[in-house]
Protein backbone atom coordinates (compact mmCIF):
# COMPACT_ATOMS: atom_id res chain seq x y z
CA UNK A 1 0.00 0.00 0.00
CA UNK A 2 2.98 2.29 -0.18
CA UNK A 3 3.33 4.84 -2.93
CA UNK A 4 5.92 2.97 -4.94
CA UNK A 5 8.89 4.66 -6.39
CA UNK A 6 8.30 4.70 -10.11
CA UNK A 7 11.98 5.07 -10.73
CA UNK A 8 12.62 1.72 -9.15
CA UNK A 9 9.91 -0.56 -10.29
CA UNK A 10 6.54 -0.31 -11.93
CA UNK A 11 5.41 -3.51 -10.27
CA UNK A 12 4.71 -4.34 -6.68
CA UNK A 13 7.83 -5.63 -4.95
CA UNK A 14 7.89 -9.36 -4.46
CA UNK A 15 9.46 -11.36 -1.66
CA UNK A 16 12.01 -12.60 -4.16
CA UNK A 17 12.99 -9.04 -4.98
CA UNK A 18 13.38 -8.23 -1.31
CA UNK A 19 15.53 -11.31 -0.77
CA UNK A 20 17.66 -10.22 -3.67
CA UNK A 21 18.10 -6.77 -2.16
CA UNK A 22 19.04 -8.31 1.18
CA UNK A 23 21.98 -10.11 -0.42
CA UNK A 24 23.55 -6.74 -1.15
CA UNK A 25 24.12 -6.22 2.58
CA UNK A 26 26.92 -8.37 3.92
CA UNK A 27 28.94 -8.31 7.12
CA UNK A 28 26.21 -9.09 9.64
CA UNK A 29 25.71 -12.74 8.89
CA UNK A 30 25.37 -13.43 12.62
CA UNK A 31 21.96 -11.77 12.40
CA UNK A 32 20.96 -13.28 9.09
CA UNK A 33 18.36 -15.50 10.68
CA UNK A 34 16.98 -12.54 12.62
CA UNK A 35 16.61 -10.62 9.39
CA UNK A 36 15.05 -13.47 7.47
CA UNK A 37 12.58 -14.17 10.25
CA UNK A 38 10.96 -10.78 9.66
CA UNK A 39 10.94 -10.91 5.87
CA UNK A 40 7.40 -12.03 5.17
CA UNK A 41 5.92 -9.90 7.94
CA UNK A 42 7.63 -6.79 6.63
CA UNK A 43 6.63 -7.61 3.09
CA UNK A 44 2.96 -7.97 3.96
CA UNK A 45 3.02 -4.87 6.15
CA UNK A 46 4.52 -2.61 3.54
CA UNK A 47 2.85 -4.24 0.55
CA UNK A 48 -0.68 -4.61 1.84
CA UNK A 49 -1.26 -2.95 5.20
CA UNK A 50 0.63 0.23 6.00
CA UNK A 51 -0.59 3.57 4.77
CA UNK A 52 2.80 5.20 4.33
CA UNK A 53 4.32 7.22 1.51
CA UNK A 54 8.01 7.91 0.88
CA UNK A 55 6.98 11.22 -0.62
CA UNK A 56 5.14 12.27 2.55
CA UNK A 57 7.35 11.16 5.37
CA UNK A 58 5.95 13.64 7.87
CA UNK A 59 2.27 13.09 7.11
CA UNK A 60 0.79 13.20 10.62
CA UNK A 61 -1.95 10.78 9.55
CA UNK A 62 0.40 8.11 8.26
CA UNK A 63 0.50 4.71 9.87
CA UNK A 64 3.52 4.13 12.08
CA UNK A 65 5.70 1.05 11.89
CA UNK A 66 8.24 0.65 14.69
CA UNK A 67 10.93 -1.98 14.31
CA UNK A 68 11.75 -2.82 17.91
CA UNK A 69 13.77 -5.91 17.00
CA UNK A 70 16.43 -3.72 15.50
CA UNK A 71 19.28 -6.19 15.01
CA UNK A 72 19.68 -7.74 11.60
CA UNK A 73 17.75 -4.96 9.80
CA UNK A 74 18.63 -6.23 6.35
CA UNK A 75 15.07 -7.23 5.50
CA UNK A 76 13.84 -3.91 6.80
CA UNK A 77 16.22 -1.88 4.70
CA UNK A 78 15.48 -4.08 1.69
CA UNK A 79 11.76 -3.48 2.12
CA UNK A 80 12.31 0.25 2.53
CA UNK A 81 14.39 0.27 -0.63
CA UNK A 82 11.83 -1.77 -2.54
CA UNK A 83 9.12 0.70 -1.55
CA UNK A 84 10.99 3.85 -2.46
CA UNK A 85 12.18 5.09 0.93
CA UNK A 86 15.80 4.31 0.10
CA UNK A 87 17.94 4.09 -3.00
CA UNK A 88 18.75 0.41 -3.48
CA UNK A 89 22.26 1.42 -4.49
CA UNK A 90 22.86 2.43 -0.85
CA UNK A 91 22.45 -1.08 0.43
CA UNK A 92 25.81 -2.49 -0.61
CA UNK A 93 27.68 0.14 1.39
CA UNK A 94 25.67 -0.25 4.56
CA UNK A 95 27.53 0.36 7.83
CA UNK A 96 30.32 1.95 5.81
CA UNK A 97 31.91 5.21 6.82
CA UNK A 98 29.63 7.38 4.72
CA UNK A 99 26.52 5.24 4.98
CA UNK A 100 23.39 6.20 6.82
CA UNK A 101 22.44 2.56 7.16
CA UNK A 102 23.82 1.12 10.36
CA UNK A 103 23.49 -2.38 11.70
CA UNK A 104 20.73 -0.95 13.87
CA UNK A 105 18.41 1.58 12.23
CA UNK A 106 18.56 5.25 13.17
CA UNK A 107 15.45 7.38 12.61
CA UNK A 108 17.54 10.52 12.49
CA UNK A 109 19.45 9.22 9.49
CA UNK A 110 17.14 6.93 7.55
CA UNK A 111 13.94 8.14 5.88
CA UNK A 112 10.92 6.08 6.76
CA UNK A 113 12.38 4.75 10.02
CA UNK A 114 10.06 5.78 12.84
CA UNK A 115 12.23 4.78 15.81
CA UNK A 116 15.90 4.09 16.28
CA UNK A 117 16.36 0.62 17.73
CA UNK A 118 19.02 -1.90 18.60
CA UNK A 119 18.71 -2.28 22.34
CA UNK A 120 15.89 -4.72 22.86
CA UNK A 121 12.75 -3.85 24.72
CA UNK A 122 12.24 -0.23 23.77
CA UNK A 123 9.91 -0.31 20.80
CA UNK A 124 6.75 -1.47 22.51
CA UNK A 125 6.87 1.34 25.08
CA UNK A 126 7.52 3.87 22.36
CA UNK A 127 4.62 2.41 20.40
CA UNK A 128 2.33 2.83 23.39
CA UNK A 129 3.43 6.45 23.67
CA UNK A 130 2.93 6.98 19.95
CA UNK A 131 -0.57 5.56 20.05
CA UNK A 132 -1.40 7.72 23.05
CA UNK A 133 -0.01 10.80 21.37
CA UNK A 134 -2.02 10.25 18.21
CA UNK A 135 -5.19 9.75 20.20
CA UNK A 136 -4.54 12.84 22.30
CA UNK A 137 -4.46 14.89 19.13
CA UNK A 138 -7.63 13.38 17.74
CA UNK A 139 -5.81 11.40 15.06
CA UNK A 140 -7.84 8.22 15.14
CA UNK A 141 -7.04 6.96 11.65
CA UNK A 142 -3.32 6.19 11.94
CA UNK A 143 -2.42 2.74 13.18
CA UNK A 144 0.71 1.87 15.11
CA UNK A 145 2.48 -1.42 14.42
CA UNK A 146 5.51 -2.55 16.40
CA UNK A 147 7.58 -5.61 15.55
CA UNK A 148 9.25 -7.44 18.41
CA UNK A 149 10.99 -10.77 18.74
CA UNK A 150 10.00 -13.61 21.02
CA UNK A 151 13.28 -13.50 22.92
CA UNK A 152 13.05 -9.74 23.05
CA UNK A 153 9.97 -10.23 25.19
CA UNK A 154 12.32 -11.35 27.96
CA UNK A 155 12.97 -7.66 28.56
CA UNK A 156 10.80 -6.51 31.43
CA UNK A 157 10.20 -3.16 29.82
CA UNK A 158 7.93 -4.87 27.31
CA UNK A 159 5.66 -6.07 30.05
CA UNK A 160 5.17 -2.62 31.43
CA UNK A 161 3.87 -1.66 28.02
CA UNK A 162 1.82 -4.83 27.56
CA UNK A 163 0.15 -4.30 30.92
CA UNK A 164 -0.85 -0.73 30.19
CA UNK A 165 -1.86 -0.84 26.54
CA UNK A 166 -5.09 -2.74 26.97
CA UNK A 167 -6.00 -0.91 30.16
CA UNK A 168 -5.68 2.28 28.16
CA UNK A 169 -7.73 0.74 25.32
CA UNK A 170 -5.19 1.43 22.62
CA UNK A 171 -7.12 -0.01 19.72
CA UNK A 172 -4.78 1.62 17.21
CA UNK A 173 -1.87 -0.49 18.43
CA UNK A 174 -0.75 -3.83 17.02
CA UNK A 175 2.25 -5.72 18.34
CA UNK A 176 3.66 -8.22 15.89
CA UNK A 177 5.77 -10.86 17.57
CA UNK A 178 8.02 -12.87 15.31
CA UNK A 179 8.49 -16.14 17.10
CA UNK A 180 11.49 -18.17 15.97
CA UNK A 181 11.74 -19.95 19.28
CA UNK A 182 14.70 -17.92 20.45
CA UNK A 183 13.69 -17.31 24.05
CA UNK A 184 15.88 -19.15 26.54
CA UNK A 185 13.09 -20.11 28.87
CA UNK A 186 10.08 -20.02 26.61
CA UNK A 187 6.59 -18.83 27.41
CA UNK A 188 4.41 -21.24 29.36
CA UNK A 189 1.01 -21.15 27.74
CA UNK A 190 2.37 -19.41 24.68
CA UNK A 191 3.08 -15.82 23.80
CA UNK A 192 -0.43 -15.06 22.61
CA UNK A 193 -1.79 -16.17 25.96
CA UNK A 194 0.48 -13.67 27.76
CA UNK A 195 -0.97 -10.85 25.73
CA UNK A 196 -4.54 -12.13 26.00
CA UNK A 197 -4.32 -12.19 29.78
CA UNK A 198 -3.48 -8.51 29.70
CA UNK A 199 -6.54 -7.73 27.63
CA UNK A 200 -5.15 -7.79 24.12
CA UNK A 201 -6.81 -9.44 21.15
CA UNK A 202 -4.19 -12.08 20.41
CA UNK A 203 -3.72 -14.41 17.45
CA UNK A 204 -1.08 -16.84 16.32
CA UNK A 205 -0.35 -17.27 12.63
CA UNK A 206 2.16 -18.90 10.31
CA UNK A 207 4.78 -16.21 9.84
CA UNK A 208 5.39 -17.32 6.24
CA UNK A 209 1.74 -17.41 5.13
CA UNK A 210 0.98 -14.01 3.67
CA UNK A 211 -2.76 -14.39 3.68
CA UNK A 212 -2.78 -15.46 7.33
CA UNK A 213 -0.54 -12.54 8.21
CA UNK A 214 -2.70 -10.08 6.32
CA UNK A 215 -5.90 -11.36 7.87
CA UNK A 216 -4.45 -11.12 11.37
CA UNK A 217 -3.03 -7.64 10.86
CA UNK A 218 -6.29 -6.31 9.51
CA UNK A 219 -8.72 -8.11 11.80
CA UNK A 220 -10.90 -5.77 13.78
CA UNK A 221 -10.06 -5.31 17.46
CA UNK A 222 -12.29 -2.57 18.78
CA UNK A 223 -11.35 -1.07 22.10
CA UNK A 224 -8.27 -3.23 22.59
CA UNK A 225 -4.77 -3.52 21.16
CA UNK A 226 -3.90 -6.48 18.99
CA UNK A 227 -1.05 -8.96 19.22
CA UNK A 228 -0.15 -11.10 16.22
CA UNK A 229 2.29 -13.87 17.02
CA UNK A 230 3.91 -15.02 13.80
CA UNK A 231 5.62 -18.38 14.06
CA UNK A 232 8.56 -19.05 11.78
CA UNK A 233 11.13 -21.76 11.63
CA UNK A 234 13.23 -22.24 14.74
CA UNK A 235 16.42 -20.30 15.01
CA UNK A 236 19.02 -23.02 15.55
CA UNK A 237 21.54 -21.23 17.64
CA UNK A 238 22.01 -23.88 20.31
Amino acid sequence: MTALSQEWTAEAPTVELIRSLMTRMTGDEKHGAAATSTLDLLHVLYQRVLRVDPGRLDDPDRDRFLLSKGHGPMAYYAVLAAHGFLDPDELADWSGRGSRLGMHPDRVLVPGVEVSSGSLGHGLGLAVGTALGLRAQGRLAPRVFVLVGDAELDEGSNHEAIAVAARMRLAALTAVVVDNNSASHGWPGGIAERFAREGWAARTVDGRDHDQIFAALTAAHPDQPSAVVARVERKDWR
Binding site: P60, D106, R107, V108, E114, V115, S116, S119, H122, L124, G125, L126, A127, V128, G129, T130, A131, L132, G133, L134, R135, A136, Q137, R139, G156, S157, E160, A161, A163, V164, M168
Partner: protein, 310 residues
Protein backbone atom coordinates in the same frame (compact mmCIF):
# COMPACT_ATOMS: atom_id res chain seq x y z
CA UNK B 1 7.07 33.70 50.44
CA UNK B 2 6.55 33.60 46.74
CA UNK B 3 5.63 37.03 45.47
CA UNK B 4 4.31 35.57 42.23
CA UNK B 5 1.96 33.18 43.96
CA UNK B 6 1.24 35.25 47.11
CA UNK B 7 1.30 32.27 49.45
CA UNK B 8 4.18 30.26 50.79
CA UNK B 9 4.73 27.33 48.46
CA UNK B 10 7.37 24.74 47.93
CA UNK B 11 8.84 23.74 44.59
CA UNK B 12 6.54 20.78 44.21
CA UNK B 13 3.47 22.96 44.65
CA UNK B 14 4.85 25.48 42.20
CA UNK B 15 5.41 22.64 39.76
CA UNK B 16 1.87 21.35 40.13
CA UNK B 17 0.37 24.78 39.65
CA UNK B 18 2.51 25.58 36.65
CA UNK B 19 1.76 22.27 34.97
CA UNK B 20 -1.96 22.80 35.52
CA UNK B 21 -1.70 26.19 33.87
CA UNK B 22 0.31 24.81 30.97
CA UNK B 23 -2.18 22.03 30.37
CA UNK B 24 -4.96 24.62 30.21
CA UNK B 25 -3.02 26.94 27.92
CA UNK B 26 -1.31 24.61 25.50
CA UNK B 27 -2.79 21.50 23.94
CA UNK B 28 0.64 20.24 23.00
CA UNK B 29 1.64 19.80 26.64
CA UNK B 30 1.17 16.34 28.13
CA UNK B 31 1.96 14.99 31.57
CA UNK B 32 3.06 11.43 32.32
CA UNK B 33 3.05 10.13 35.87
CA UNK B 34 4.14 6.89 37.47
CA UNK B 35 1.82 6.74 40.45
CA UNK B 36 3.62 9.71 42.05
CA UNK B 37 1.91 13.05 42.71
CA UNK B 38 -1.33 11.76 41.20
CA UNK B 39 -3.32 13.25 44.07
CA UNK B 40 -2.05 16.66 43.06
CA UNK B 41 -3.33 16.21 39.51
CA UNK B 42 -6.79 14.74 40.12
CA UNK B 43 -8.47 17.62 38.31
CA UNK B 44 -6.13 17.35 35.35
CA UNK B 45 -6.48 13.57 35.15
CA UNK B 46 -10.22 14.06 34.86
CA UNK B 47 -10.16 17.06 32.58
CA UNK B 48 -7.49 15.88 30.15
CA UNK B 49 -7.57 12.09 30.17
CA UNK B 50 -5.74 11.84 26.87
CA UNK B 51 -2.95 14.22 27.82
CA UNK B 52 -2.49 13.44 31.51
CA UNK B 53 -1.45 9.83 31.81
CA UNK B 54 -0.65 7.66 34.79
CA UNK B 55 1.18 4.53 33.71
CA UNK B 56 1.45 3.09 37.21
CA UNK B 57 4.72 2.13 38.89
CA UNK B 58 6.43 1.56 35.56
CA UNK B 59 9.30 3.96 35.23
CA UNK B 60 10.77 2.53 32.06
CA UNK B 61 7.38 2.96 30.44
CA UNK B 62 7.12 6.45 31.91
CA UNK B 63 10.04 7.53 29.79
CA UNK B 64 9.16 5.44 26.72
CA UNK B 65 5.65 6.87 26.67
CA UNK B 66 7.12 10.36 26.91
CA UNK B 67 9.29 9.50 23.93
CA UNK B 68 6.35 8.20 21.94
CA UNK B 69 4.26 11.26 22.76
CA UNK B 70 7.10 13.47 21.61
CA UNK B 71 7.37 11.57 18.35
CA UNK B 72 3.78 12.60 17.59
CA UNK B 73 4.59 16.26 18.21
CA UNK B 74 3.52 16.71 21.82
CA UNK B 75 5.65 18.28 24.58
CA UNK B 76 5.58 15.73 27.39
CA UNK B 77 6.47 16.32 31.02
CA UNK B 78 7.48 13.13 32.85
CA UNK B 79 7.54 13.23 36.62
CA UNK B 80 8.42 11.06 39.55
CA UNK B 81 10.91 10.74 42.39
CA UNK B 82 14.48 11.50 41.33
CA UNK B 83 16.17 8.07 41.49
CA UNK B 84 13.21 6.46 39.71
CA UNK B 85 13.08 9.16 37.04
CA UNK B 86 16.77 9.26 36.18
CA UNK B 87 18.63 6.23 37.48
CA UNK B 88 16.14 3.44 37.04
CA UNK B 89 15.12 4.19 33.44
CA UNK B 90 18.40 5.72 32.37
CA UNK B 91 18.62 3.66 29.21
CA UNK B 92 15.16 4.83 28.25
CA UNK B 93 16.30 8.44 28.68
CA UNK B 94 19.40 7.70 26.64
CA UNK B 95 17.63 5.86 23.81
CA UNK B 96 13.92 6.70 23.86
CA UNK B 97 14.52 10.40 24.25
CA UNK B 98 18.02 11.57 23.35
CA UNK B 99 18.86 8.96 20.69
CA UNK B 100 15.40 9.31 19.14
CA UNK B 101 15.81 13.08 19.06
CA UNK B 102 12.53 13.14 21.00
CA UNK B 103 12.19 15.93 23.50
CA UNK B 104 10.66 15.80 26.96
CA UNK B 105 10.86 17.64 30.26
CA UNK B 106 11.85 15.40 33.15
CA UNK B 107 10.84 16.78 36.54
CA UNK B 108 11.98 15.18 39.75
CA UNK B 109 11.39 15.64 43.42
CA UNK B 110 13.53 14.21 46.16
CA UNK B 111 16.91 15.54 45.06
CA UNK B 112 19.94 14.28 46.97
CA UNK B 113 18.40 13.72 50.39
CA UNK B 114 15.10 15.53 50.75
CA UNK B 115 13.81 12.46 52.56
CA UNK B 116 16.69 11.30 54.74
CA UNK B 117 14.51 8.79 56.54
CA UNK B 118 13.93 7.02 53.26
CA UNK B 119 17.58 6.07 52.99
CA UNK B 120 19.72 5.42 49.97
CA UNK B 121 17.00 3.92 47.82
CA UNK B 122 15.28 7.30 47.70
CA UNK B 123 18.32 9.51 47.36
CA UNK B 124 19.77 10.60 44.06
CA UNK B 125 22.94 12.64 44.41
CA UNK B 126 24.22 11.15 41.16
CA UNK B 127 21.35 12.21 38.91
CA UNK B 128 22.97 15.27 37.36
CA UNK B 129 26.26 13.46 36.84
CA UNK B 130 24.45 10.66 35.06
CA UNK B 131 22.53 12.98 32.77
CA UNK B 132 25.76 14.84 32.12
CA UNK B 133 26.91 11.82 30.12
CA UNK B 134 24.17 12.46 27.54
CA UNK B 135 24.74 15.11 24.89
CA UNK B 136 22.41 18.07 24.73
CA UNK B 137 20.36 17.49 27.87
CA UNK B 138 19.61 20.78 29.60
CA UNK B 139 19.73 20.60 33.40
CA UNK B 140 18.06 23.10 35.71
CA UNK B 141 18.50 23.15 39.47
CA UNK B 142 16.19 25.89 40.74
CA UNK B 143 16.76 27.41 44.12
CA UNK B 144 13.28 28.76 44.73
CA UNK B 145 9.72 27.82 43.76
CA UNK B 146 9.41 30.88 41.55
CA UNK B 147 12.59 29.89 39.76
CA UNK B 148 11.20 26.40 39.28
CA UNK B 149 8.01 27.77 37.75
CA UNK B 150 9.94 30.13 35.49
CA UNK B 151 12.30 27.43 34.25
CA UNK B 152 9.47 24.97 33.64
CA UNK B 153 7.50 27.50 31.60
CA UNK B 154 10.56 28.26 29.52
CA UNK B 155 11.11 24.59 28.81
CA UNK B 156 7.49 24.01 27.84
CA UNK B 157 8.08 26.26 24.86
CA UNK B 158 11.26 24.58 23.73
CA UNK B 159 12.34 21.34 22.09
CA UNK B 160 14.81 18.79 23.32
CA UNK B 161 15.35 17.02 26.60
CA UNK B 162 15.48 18.97 29.84
CA UNK B 163 15.75 17.95 33.49
CA UNK B 164 14.24 20.07 36.23
CA UNK B 165 15.52 19.01 39.64
CA UNK B 166 13.14 20.17 42.34
CA UNK B 167 14.12 20.18 45.97
CA UNK B 168 12.58 20.66 49.37
CA UNK B 169 15.51 22.94 50.17
CA UNK B 170 15.00 26.46 48.86
CA UNK B 171 16.48 29.91 49.09
CA UNK B 172 14.55 32.71 50.71
CA UNK B 173 14.42 34.75 47.55
CA UNK B 174 14.05 33.85 43.88
CA UNK B 175 16.82 34.77 41.48
CA UNK B 176 15.34 36.07 38.24
CA UNK B 177 17.56 36.18 35.22
CA UNK B 178 19.58 33.56 33.48
CA UNK B 179 23.08 32.24 33.36
CA UNK B 180 25.76 32.56 36.01
CA UNK B 181 25.07 35.85 37.75
CA UNK B 182 26.74 37.77 40.52
CA UNK B 183 24.77 37.98 43.72
CA UNK B 184 27.36 39.31 46.15
CA UNK B 185 30.44 41.22 44.98
CA UNK B 186 33.81 40.43 46.45
CA UNK B 187 37.47 40.41 45.53
CA UNK B 188 38.99 37.33 47.14
CA UNK B 189 37.85 34.36 45.15
CA UNK B 190 34.47 33.44 43.65
CA UNK B 191 32.01 31.00 45.13
CA UNK B 192 29.47 29.67 42.65
CA UNK B 193 26.33 28.44 44.39
CA UNK B 194 24.05 26.13 42.45
CA UNK B 195 20.34 26.30 43.12
CA UNK B 196 19.34 25.88 46.76
CA UNK B 197 22.97 26.16 47.88
CA UNK B 198 22.78 29.93 47.52
CA UNK B 199 21.54 30.77 50.99
CA UNK B 200 24.03 28.50 52.79
CA UNK B 201 26.82 29.97 50.65
CA UNK B 202 25.70 33.55 51.38
CA UNK B 203 25.66 32.75 55.09
CA UNK B 204 29.17 31.35 54.81
CA UNK B 205 30.30 34.42 52.85
CA UNK B 206 28.91 36.67 55.53
CA UNK B 207 30.82 34.75 58.17
CA UNK B 208 34.01 35.01 56.13
CA UNK B 209 33.57 38.73 55.66
CA UNK B 210 33.61 39.08 59.43
CA UNK B 211 37.07 37.55 59.20
CA UNK B 212 38.05 40.13 56.64
CA UNK B 213 37.77 37.76 53.67
CA UNK B 214 35.38 39.04 51.05
CA UNK B 215 34.46 36.41 48.54
CA UNK B 216 32.26 37.08 45.57
CA UNK B 217 29.18 34.88 45.29
CA UNK B 218 27.48 33.97 42.05
CA UNK B 219 24.31 31.98 41.48
CA UNK B 220 23.59 29.39 38.82
CA UNK B 221 20.45 27.38 38.28
CA UNK B 222 20.91 26.16 34.73
CA UNK B 223 23.97 23.95 35.01
CA UNK B 224 23.78 22.38 31.57
CA UNK B 225 24.75 23.90 29.31
CA UNK B 226 27.20 25.40 31.75
CA UNK B 227 27.54 29.16 31.41
CA UNK B 228 31.27 29.37 30.84
CA UNK B 229 31.05 32.86 29.42
CA UNK B 230 29.20 34.03 32.52
CA UNK B 231 31.82 32.47 34.75
CA UNK B 232 34.65 34.18 32.90
CA UNK B 233 32.84 37.51 33.02
CA UNK B 234 32.20 37.37 36.76
CA UNK B 235 35.67 36.07 37.50
CA UNK B 236 37.17 38.98 35.60
CA UNK B 237 36.12 41.29 38.43
CA UNK B 238 37.60 39.09 41.14
CA UNK B 239 41.20 39.76 42.16
CA UNK B 240 42.20 36.11 42.53
CA UNK B 241 41.23 33.38 40.04
CA UNK B 242 40.06 31.03 42.78
CA UNK B 243 36.75 29.31 42.23
CA UNK B 244 34.72 27.35 44.71
CA UNK B 245 31.87 25.40 43.16
CA UNK B 246 29.10 24.37 45.54
CA UNK B 247 26.60 21.89 44.10
CA UNK B 248 23.71 20.15 45.91
CA UNK B 249 24.57 16.81 44.28
CA UNK B 250 27.79 14.88 43.82
CA UNK B 251 30.84 17.02 44.43
CA UNK B 252 32.76 17.70 41.27
CA UNK B 253 29.86 17.11 38.91
CA UNK B 254 30.59 20.37 37.11
CA UNK B 255 34.36 20.51 37.65
CA UNK B 256 35.04 19.57 34.07
CA UNK B 257 32.73 22.35 32.90
CA UNK B 258 34.60 24.91 35.00
CA UNK B 259 37.90 23.58 33.73
CA UNK B 260 36.70 23.80 30.15
CA UNK B 261 35.42 27.35 30.70
CA UNK B 262 38.78 28.43 32.10
CA UNK B 263 41.00 26.61 29.64
CA UNK B 264 44.19 28.54 29.16
CA UNK B 265 43.68 30.65 32.27
CA UNK B 266 45.48 29.94 35.48
CA UNK B 267 42.97 29.17 38.17
CA UNK B 268 42.32 27.06 41.22
CA UNK B 269 39.13 25.14 41.81
CA UNK B 270 37.55 23.64 44.89
CA UNK B 271 34.49 21.48 44.19
CA UNK B 272 32.07 20.92 47.03
CA UNK B 273 28.94 18.85 47.08
CA UNK B 274 27.63 15.51 48.27
CA UNK B 275 30.64 13.45 49.24
CA UNK B 276 31.66 10.48 47.12
CA UNK B 277 33.71 8.58 49.64
CA UNK B 278 31.04 6.22 50.89
CA UNK B 279 27.35 5.68 51.40
CA UNK B 280 26.06 7.71 54.31
CA UNK B 281 23.87 5.33 56.30
CA UNK B 282 22.36 8.02 58.46
CA UNK B 283 18.75 9.05 58.68
CA UNK B 284 17.92 12.15 60.74
CA UNK B 285 16.97 15.27 58.81
CA UNK B 286 18.31 17.18 55.84
CA UNK B 287 20.35 19.46 58.10
CA UNK B 288 22.17 16.39 59.43
CA UNK B 289 23.04 15.41 55.88
CA UNK B 290 24.10 18.95 55.03
CA UNK B 291 26.57 18.80 57.91
CA UNK B 292 27.75 15.32 57.00
CA UNK B 293 28.56 16.49 53.49
CA UNK B 294 30.01 19.81 54.56
CA UNK B 295 27.23 21.78 52.92
CA UNK B 296 26.00 23.72 55.95
CA UNK B 297 27.13 27.37 56.27
CA UNK B 298 29.69 26.72 58.99
CA UNK B 299 31.34 23.85 57.12
CA UNK B 300 31.32 25.79 53.87
CA UNK B 301 33.05 28.73 55.56
CA UNK B 302 35.74 26.43 56.94
CA UNK B 303 36.31 24.77 53.57
CA UNK B 304 36.51 28.05 51.67
CA UNK B 305 38.82 29.59 54.24
CA UNK B 306 41.16 26.62 54.10
CA UNK B 307 41.14 26.70 50.31
CA UNK B 308 41.91 30.39 50.11
CA UNK B 309 44.66 30.07 52.70
CA UNK B 310 46.60 27.57 50.57
Amino acid sequence: MSAALDVPVDMRTAFVRTVAELLDEDQSVALVLADMSTDHFRRELRRYPDRVLNVGIREQLLISVAGGLALTGLRPIAHTYAPFLVERPFEQIKLDLVHQDAGAILVSVGASYDWPGGGRTHQSPGDVALLDTLPGVRVHVPGHPDDAARLLRAEAGRDGVAYLRLSAAANAQPQPGSGLRLVRPGRRGLVVAVGPMLDPVLAAAKALSCEGIHVAVAYLDTVRPFDGAGLRAVLADVATPEVVLVEPYLAGTSSHAVSEALTGRAHRLLSLGVRRNGELRVYGDAADHDRAHGLDPASLAVEVLAFLAC
